[in-house]
Symmetry: none
Subunit: 119 residues, 4 copies
């Protein structure tokens, strides 16, 4: 069953986002072995090359690492995991705030917009 991809972002990036999120929220535990590339590709309904690329890019963030001839493993470095999470959240948040500030919204209006959407 293929995952759901939007057309306006590269598929490999969307896969990155999903897997990174899975690691951060603990679906994949530290030290856990990931499924084989072709199995993941099959599950996501994408070309194995695409999945391969997504995993390589995640690897470059340090969240996962490859053991040659064995497979890919989630990092056990919990400090790194928290750092990545923190940066990820901060980046998303700052981008969001900037995009509203550019419209002329002040801090109070931004807070209100968030609270309204959270309801």
């Amino acid at each position: 069953m293929a995952w759901n991809f939007s057309a306006d972002k590269p598929i490999f990036q969307q896969i990155m986002d999903v897997i990174t999120a899975d690691i951060i929220r603990g679906k994949y535990k530290p030290g856990e072995k990931l499924a084989a590339v072709r199995d993941l590709a099959l599950e996501a309904g994408v070309n194995p090359n695409t999945m391969q690329r997504a995993l390589s890019e995640i690897e470059s963030t340090g969240l996962i690492s490859t053991k040659r001839g064995d497979g890919r493993y989630v990092t056990e470095d919990e400090a790194l995991l928290q750092l990545v999470t923190k940066n990820y959240v901060a980046e998303k948040t700052n981008d969001f705030i900037d995009s509203l500030r550019i419209l002329g919204l002040d801090d109070k209006q931004i807070t209100m917009a968030v609270e309204q959407c959270l309801k």
Copy 2:
């Protein structure tokens, strides 16, 4: 003086964002005539075709309209303008919230993240 474009999004989209924001925050007033495509292109440091495309796409949102052989004008329909603004803000906010929720953050954590970045 060319504008500053990032490499990870199409230029025409970045132009759209800038001009849309300019209209929303009132740099361009309702009913005001925009500069000619060629002039805007010169100002932004892009090819006239690129600017043309950005403007056409904004036009499809209704924020601006073309008078043939004359020029482009910002809509005078203030209701539409407010609607577009509202949708724009809501969309950005929802995207942001979703991107954090997928990590497992709850509403309180999201609010906190925003407040921390606003400081």
Copy 3:
């Protein structure tokens, strides 16, 4: 008070259509004198050049004629008027039929479409 023009056809053509229709349906009687170009332009809310062009093009169909230094007059040749009308209707109808036939609709379906829209 300006007329209502759509953005997807040249304004002078839209003016032609309106005035031609006015002549055909008898709003302007045969032999009647038209208002001055600048008055018509004012009424339509367009540039006098545009109105001028529209009138010249209608003139080339024979429906109106110019008396130098006097003004423009609707033709008194009723036979011509009927001929133009007939051709006009036939042309519109054939274009319409062709546009539906190209979709694979047969004669019966076309008749039905028309009747449904007439209700």
Copy 4:
């Protein structure tokens, strides 16, 4: 072998009409993959950019969609297809009827005009 284009409408619009009609009348089946932009452009005898534009605009109606790095596919959503068809026919028909009504023709005369041309 270049297609036949008339001079009074933009080429990309004429291409849109042809391909849209092809989809509606089933020449391209739902889910079918379209030929590559460059190939279609060659077939139509136009610049690839022009074909690209035509296809993008059709895409915005939902009739076709793009799989990145793969190609363009006709929608499999038959309900959408029928809806588009219905709207398309209704729009053409209404435009036609309006253009005759503005001449002062009543419903009966319009029906007669159609029947006469169908013979």
